[in-house]
């Protein structure tokens, strides 16, 4: 925990500096008859974030906050494995939406999660993995008129558009 607290505070302090620098692309001072410049609000927020991060670092150094005293592991090995698998599969799913679209990525993700992490049988896995995209199609594309990204699978949907739209 202690190391994680330090790393997080440093990363956030650096992000605050970046935010201040980025805000300064717009005027951050007073513009006559216009009030504060466009960059002023985020600039001072960034400054506030920086102060808070340094404050957290000070508390880390003096061991005054609970986390900075904790000797518990930030992630134990089991939690880390789970986090990497779940986070990783989410990332892969979102990435593959660009390629094979929502209707390709979603069933794959559901099948992976339920079969591999949940150890459910193929009938349950298959039922959920196939029914979810069908429900999503009718809800989003037909009822809401929101086109979900389809990537390479776009041509497969032309006949469906002809029927429903």
């Amino acid at each position: 925990m202690r190391r994680a607290e330090f790393v997080m505070a440093v990363v956030m302090a650096l992000f605050s500096l970046y935010l201040m620098w980025k805000s300064a692309e717009l005027p951050i001072g007073w513009i006559p008859d216009e009030g504060p410049g466009g960059g002023a609000f985020p600039f001072w927020l960034g400054a506030g974030m920086l102060v808070c991060s340094l404050w957290t670092l000070l508390r880390w150094f003096r061991r005054t906050s609970d986390v900075s005293r904790s000797s518990e592991a930030y992630f134990d090995s089991r939690a880390l494995t789970l986090f990497l698998i779940v986070g990783g599969s989410l990332t892969v799913m979102i990435g593959s939406i660009h390629l094979v679209g929502v209707y390709g990525a979603v069933p794959l993700f559901l099948a992976f999660y339920m079969r591999f992490l949940g150890r459910h049988g193929w009938p349950t896995t298959g039922a959920v993995a196939l029914s979810t995209p069908i429900v999503a199609f009718f809800f989003f594309e037909i009822a809401l008129n929101i086109t979900l990204p389809k990537g390479l699978t776009e041509p497969l949907f032309y006949p469906l558009y002809d029927i429903f739209l």
Binding site: E34, G39, P42, L148
Partner: protein, 501 residues
């Protein structure tokens, strides 16, 4: 009596077939969401908000408000049956609800929770009906300085009453406000904070991206980590006779119910407090005023009644500042507020003038939601218990998919989906280090309202911050806010002074 005629008009709207159906549906979904460990009202509202684009805005808000309400009822179910709070708002319900269930009195606990929720909900809606119009009238005179002062007050409550690490709470507020500043500068129209020149940042960061990231993806990652063990479900035998007996037995708890309702309502109005601390406080007070405090924690019905009355009352209390002042009283109402802005229903005092039909329709539907939630709850307790057996490894991936599709729907830009994933993961990592995240969600919703209020105020005063203290309303609000800000320092000093030398 003007209120009564307005309310009657509201009931006409609430009982329109579509709205009534949505109230019933919203309550049912809310009960389900509330009962699921790891999901509370805020998760349900955040994840399902994009789905409500199907119906007109007024109906969508009614649906979400009913969902909010149902979730408060539902939280008790898993607290009692599993011993795991279904939502943070139901934490206090586990203290006595679980022992009751283990003694074979799960039905008594469930009925008490439902009745207490109903009483808490009803009292608070009545209070709401009485307080909202006068408060809105006062708020009509507010200008930019007052609005900004109110926002400072909202954030100050997180520091004074939130009880979290102070620098981390402040950090959360600042980063939320900074995220809201991304996009085009509202006054000059110049592009601002376009990170790495990505075009996706030009339309700003939609509050839903942060809300679903934190309350959808982040929360699920958290639950995946925490819920590793097996859960055991208590058995509940239900029969009409036992239900009636249970309700009659609650006569002794009326005082506790009333206390919980009023306490919950007023705590709920405060932005940082809301339903979770409200219910914990009600539990504490119930224990203090009880004739037999020793039985608390071992299965005292009052220990279930107090927090359940309080959390429902608090959820209505949180709507009061949201609708009348445009300052949300809880993370869930913050998301509701963001939704209303998307739909062009700017919350605040003007809403009562310009969209009076909508306001009263919403209030009337709160009465209806309360009634339906208790009926559905009691009638379908066995069904909800059955649902609790649904393995988390089926629910979790479906919710992840809902989050991703829901995050895509409002802007239809994959950029936002990636951003949501980043917020979810970073939010989860920060939460593990005790960074409170609710302030950030409140801040990203309030940011687009706070910045113009601040800039216009400074323009009026020619750059002097004294304007926030010179005007009567703004001054009083700012002084209260400053009081809250120094409250933790005072507490520390008192503790230090009392420490034996």
């Amino acid at each position: 009596m003007e209120v009564l005629s307005l309310l009657a008009g509201g009931f006409a709207i609430a009982f329109a077939p579509l709205n009534l159906a949505l109230v019933v549906f919203g309550c049912a979904i809310g009960l389900f969401v509330g009962a699921m460990p790891g999901l509370g009202s805020v998760n349900g509202v955040a994840i399902l908000l994009p789905m409500t684009f199907l119906v007109p805005p007024e109906s969508a808000i009614i649906f979400l408000a009913a969902l909010y309400y149902g979730a408060m009822y539902g939280g008790a179910i898993s607290s009692i049956m599993l011993g795991i709070p279904g939502a943070s708002t139901a934490v206090a319900t586990t203290f006595d609800g679980r022992p009751l269930a283990l003694q074979g009195k799960a039905d008594v606990a469930l009925i008490s929770a439902a009745v207490a929720s109903f009483v808490g909900g009803t009292i608070s809606v009545v209070l709401f009906t009485l307080f909202a119009p006068p408060l809105a009238e006062v708020a009509l005179t507010f200008g930019s300085p007052e609005i900004f002062a109110l926002m400072v007050l909202a954030f100050a409550t997180f520091i004074g009453l939130g009880g979290d690490d102070i620098p981390k709470t402040l950090f959360s507020i600042f980063i939320g406000l900074a995220m809201s500043a991304v996009g085009l500068d509202i006054i000059s129209g110049q592009p601002r904070l376009i990170f790495f020149g990505l075009p996706g940042f030009y339309h700003g960061i939609n509050f839903l991206v942060l809300a679903i990231g934190i309350y959808g993806i982040g929360e699920m990652l958290w639950t995946v980590e925490v819920s590793r063990g097996k859960m055991s479900i208590s058995q509940a035998t239900m029969s009409l006779r036992r239900i009636v007996d249970g309700v009659i037995g609650l006569k002794r708890s009326i005082k506790t119910m009333l206390m919980g309702s009023f306490l919950g309502y007023f705590v709920g109005i405060l932005p940082a407090a809301g339903a979770t601390p409200g219910s914990l406080m009600a539990y504490g007070v119930a224990k203090t005023i009880s004739k037999e405090p020793g039985t608390f924690g071992k299965g005292n019905v009052d220990g279930v009644v107090a927090p359940e009355a309080a959390n429902n009352a608090a959820s209505t209390g949180a709507m009061l500042p949201m609708l009348t002042l445009g300052i949300p009283g809880s993370p869930t109402t913050a998301i509701l507020l963001g939704g209303m802005v998307i739909w062009g229903l700017e919350p605040g005092p003007l809403l009562f003038v310009e969209h009076s039909d909508f306001v009263w329709g919403l209030i009337a539907s709160l009465y209806a939601a309360n009634l339906f939630a208790v009926l559905i709850n009691v009638a379908f307790i066995p069904a909800f218990i059955w649902v609790l057996r649904m393995p988390f490894t089926i629910l979790a991936p479906i919710i992840f998919v809902l989050c991703i599709v829901g995050g895509y729907a409002p802007t239809q830009d994959m950029h936002d989906v990636w951003l949501m994933l980043i917020f979810g993961i970073v939010g989860y990592l920060m939460r593990k280090l005790d960074y409170p995240l609710a302030p950030a969600v409140l801040a990203i919703v309030l940011g687009p309202l706070a910045e113009p209020a601040l800039r216009q105020s400074l323009l009026i005063s020619n750059g002097s911050f004294a304007i926030f203290f010179e005007r009567p309303f703004a001054g009083v609000i700012m002084v209260i806010a400053l009081g809250l800000l120094i409250l933790p320092i005072l507490q520390k000093m008192v503790r230090y002074a009392r420490r034996p030398a």
